[in-house]
């Protein structure tokens, strides 16, 4: 059943973001702000970096503001010069990514001015940007969101999003796959991975894929075949999921940008689920110096070890 989702607060939120951006740019608190602006197609939005108070009026927040802007602040995106404090418009999921980056010493909190967004959800990648936000057109990640109100920001508009209970789309899919036999799961992933064209869009868009040289680009030793063929594709996606385990903030950007519609975030969500069960770890707003896979306790489960 399709339920419409109340996005009436987004207009007031946009207003508040503009007013705050105007204020912090003109009084010199920040030198630039990374936010969303209207794009050319009707209803669509695109990331924008503004550095003058006159441009503050360009900022918007709509259900089409899908991007995770945290990626522009990582060292992988060297073309964005960082001079002084940078303002950034963040949804709850984006803030989790920023917290993760701070924990990995990629960013400093004092270099950032966080403009939090009370978010009722954004559109899925498969629908047109002008679509109304409903329980069908909403991004799957938003059905599992526990972070509609970002915490610990410098500024958050006062509006509160109404969040109706929704079917957790990823959880349902993970449960479906877990119930299959290994052979059936292998067949499922083989089909999914064989679609991959190795464009590495998932890597480019991921805030946590900031390595100077990716393991998968190295050829001595070559751990992962670089050609877009089934063997290399499978290896790449397993390696990607493993390298993001315990770090992924669940922004699902990998899945959004995938041109072949591979359900990439399923793997990351499954890893997050296992880490929650095994080590009671969840990506959140707090900054942790150590993730679950670079810390340990002496009492960790070892029932699988002989």
């Amino acid at each position: 059943m399709t339920k419409s989702i109340d996005t009436s607060i987004y207009a007031a939120v946009s207003e508040a973001i503009r007013a705050e951006a105007q204020r912090i740019l003109s009084d010199g608190t920040v030198t630039a702000i990374v936010g969303y602006a209207a794009a050319r197609r009707k209803g669509s939005a695109q990331p924008i970096v503004i550095s003058s108070a006159d441009d503050a009026a360009k900022l918007i927040f709509t259900p089409a503001c899908v991007n995770n802007l945290a990626v522009y602040l990582t060292k992988a995106k060297k073309e964005i010069p960082k001079k002084g404090k940078v303002g950034i418009v963040v949804k709850g999921c984006d803030l989790k990514a920023l917290s993760g980056l701070m924990g990995e010493s990629q960013l400093k909190r004092e270099d950032l001015y966080l403009i939090g967004v009370p978010c009722a959800g954004v559109l899925a990648s498969t629908v047109q940007p002008a679509t109304e936000l409903t329980s069908d057109s909403i991004a799957p990640k938003c059905t599992e969101c526990d972070a509609q109100l970002p915490g610990g920001c410098d500024f958050v508009p006062p509006q509160a999003p109404l969040t109706p209970g929704q079917t957790r789309k990823y959880a349902a899919e993970i449960a479906r796959l877990e119930a299959l036999t290994p052979a059936e799961r292998w067949a499922y992933w083989k089909e999914q991975f064989s679609k991959c064209i190795k464009c590495y869009a998932c890597r480019q868009v991921c805030p946590f894929c900031f390595c100077e040289q990716c393991l998968c680009d190295r050829n001595k030793p070559q751990m992962v075949d670089t050609t877009p063929r089934p063997a290399g594709n499978t290896a790449w996606h397993i390696v990607r999921a493993m390298h993001l385990a315990g770090r992924c903030a669940g922004c699902a950007e990998c899945e959004r940008v995938c041109p072949m519609d591979i359900p990439l975030n399923l793997l990351n969500r499954k890893m997050a689920k296992e880490l929650k069960e095994l080590y009671d770890y969840e990506a959140g707003f707090e900054v942790n110096d150590k993730g679950p896979l670079n810390s340990y306790t002496e009492k960790d489960d070892q029932s699988f070890i002989k």
């Binding site: 290994p182 064989s194 679609k195 751990m223 063929r229 390696v239 499954k270």
Partner: protein
């Protein structure tokens, strides 16, 4: 002197990633004590289980291993203090990932074998070899490597026709 060797139709390839301080010494002890264990295992020595990247396991399967064994020092005995504690978490998560992708976890064994446990090494290697022998060869990754198909199956008549005209 040696018991009559049993003939098998399938000899599995087992790759063992072992730590140099405990399991490698344990395997050495098994050898010097003249204990018999299946010659199917290929031992690869690492400084520590913490050095064993999950991608090595993946690579082993891709290169034709039928089973993989990862073995190191017992918790608390690590030569580098905490290498095996980190490895324990990493492998706990990695095996869940492999399971989710559809790899049969019976082919992947983790164990702690100390330098004094030659007998345990024999037992672990024999168990894994016999288990994998009963399961037959690991075909999944090998089949993937032989496949040429890319960007999904040719699943429409139009594509099929275009493909046949090439």
């Amino acid at each position: 002197m040696h018991p009559e060797k049993q003939k098998h139709t399938f000899e599995p390839k087992i790759i063992a990633f072992v730590c140099t301080w405990c399991t490698y010494a344990g395997a050495d002890l098994a050898g010097t004590s003249r204990m018999q264990y299946p010659p199917n295992v290929r031992v690869l020595k690492f400084p520590c289980t913490g050095r064993i990247d999950p991608v090595f396991i993946l690579k082993a399967f891709q290169q034709g291993a039928d089973g993989v064994l990862v073995s190191g020092c017992h918790p608390g005995d690590c030569h580098y203090i905490a290498g095996n504690f980190h490895a324990r978490r990493r492998f706990a998560v990695f095996r869940k990932l492999l399971e989710f992708v559809g790899v049969d976890l019976n082919r992947l064994q983790f164990s702690w074998v100390s330098a004094a446990e030659g007998g345990k090494w024999v037992e672990v290697v024999t168990d894994l070899t016999e288990k994998v022998r009963a399961m037959g060869p690991m075909t999944e990754f090998r089949e993937l490597a032989l496949e040429e198909q890319w960007s999904g199956a040719i699943n429409t008549p139009e594509l099929e026709e275009a493909y046949n005209q090439i």
